[in-house]
Amino acid sequence: MQTFDLEAQGLRALNSTLHAQADNTDQTHWEIVNPKGSHAIAVGLDAPIEVNIKGSTGYYCAGMNKQATVHVHGSVGPGTAENMMSGTVIVEGDASQYAGATGHGGTLVIKGNASSRCGISMKGIDIIVHGNIGHMSAFMAQSGNLVVCGDAGEALGDSLYEARLFVRGSVKSLGADCIEKEMRPEHIAILEELLERGGCDAKASEFKRYGSARQLYNFNIDNAY
């Protein structure tokens, strides 16, 4: 395992070292110590490596991730895993606003709570939150899955396209064009897989499904889930 002291070696050295890892690297395990809330830690990775961050991070941790697994042993600042393409990001603590925003793929697991605008404009990412999420989450979400084991804040799924939202607890209010939908067997199956992937012990049957009423955009049957 490679250990990197962010305080001593600096952010640019960290990210360029991680970027230098190729698909076939044999240095697959990295540990970052002293993150101290720094911005842009482990962004733009594109190799099948595992990065463990020992502490809390600031803005944009693990943004634009491809292939890599980034595991934060603390809480994360705004914009974590923004525009993720593939791979996995796991947050042991809480996440600040717009976690997983615009994500195209991969899995983001938040074991604490996520703040406002979680999954805003998500485009295929799967986001699994063990706790609650804040207001305006999944705003203009286009595809992918958002699973919330706790409660959702105001205006969930406002101006939603075709993403699936699963919430176990209460929803403070639904945004424009977001409605509760029937939970059919295929949705239970999808949710069970997501809960397992996210390490949640919740039962799929306890969740409600929300999605687009398809009144705000020109609905095309080819996009339907």
Partner: protein, 309 residues
Amino acid sequence: MCGIVGLFLKDTALEPKLGDMLTDMLITMTDRGPDSAGIAIYGYETTGNAKLTVQSNTPDIDFDKLDNDLRKRVKGKVSMDIKDTHAVLSLQADQVKDAREILSEIRPDVRVMSHGTTVEIYKEVGLPKNVAERFDIRKMSGTHGIGHTRMATESAVTTMGAHPFNTGIDQCLVHNGSLSNHNSLRRKLRRRGVHIETENDTEVGAAYLTWRMQTGSTLGEALTSSLDDLDGFFTFVVGTKDGFGVVRDPIACKPAVMAETDQYVAFGSEYRALVNLPGIDTAKVWEPEPATVYFWSHNAAPTAQEKAA
């Protein structure tokens, strides 16, 4: 952008280190606001006395024999402690009103930064590190304090545009965000006789709170009504004689992180500002909710009141 820090001490043993801890927090927030900085420190009260912190761009001239000149006119005790462009005038609390009138007459270029029994506000243009050094903030002790690093968006980079703003006796306000209805609100407040000096948006926010409190609201009520009357983005931290309060607008896009241990309650625009506080690894760390007014006080239990939509 702008950065905000705040520190409220529960453990009196930390009081001698308040200035030092706040200075570190403030410097960490330099890249959120490198153009000006300010800090409000709540120190200790002398019974019957009040403090005016004043500022001059020509301190050598304005502060020369200022204590003597004031003493002669108010006919009471006046002492003065000069720190760079600022001076703290200590005088009898019941003579402050007269003293301010006399001050504007005998030193028209001197501006009052703060009025209170415990608060002192220091603010200037420049990097937070340099501002803190000029006023020797590290050596200051006290019960609580708030600080601000400014990246100006709405008005000029000047001393009077820097934060904190004094909103009443021992009260002050710092702001991260931008108010979009400050011009119309400024006109409205001026028609009601409220004095507003600059074109700065936060000064209008501060004047609004002062006006609400002068017309019968508590600080908590004034902050709650600000959620209706102020349009724009804001995270406000307000300092009061015995604690501090936090409120974020309902959209809450301006960041805010709080941390609490048995020793302190701390506020930072980012977690980075808090990382060197003692026991931060085991502190309770969370984000304040939008449209919710929080207060921590030395004299009462903490409160959090969500405003009904």
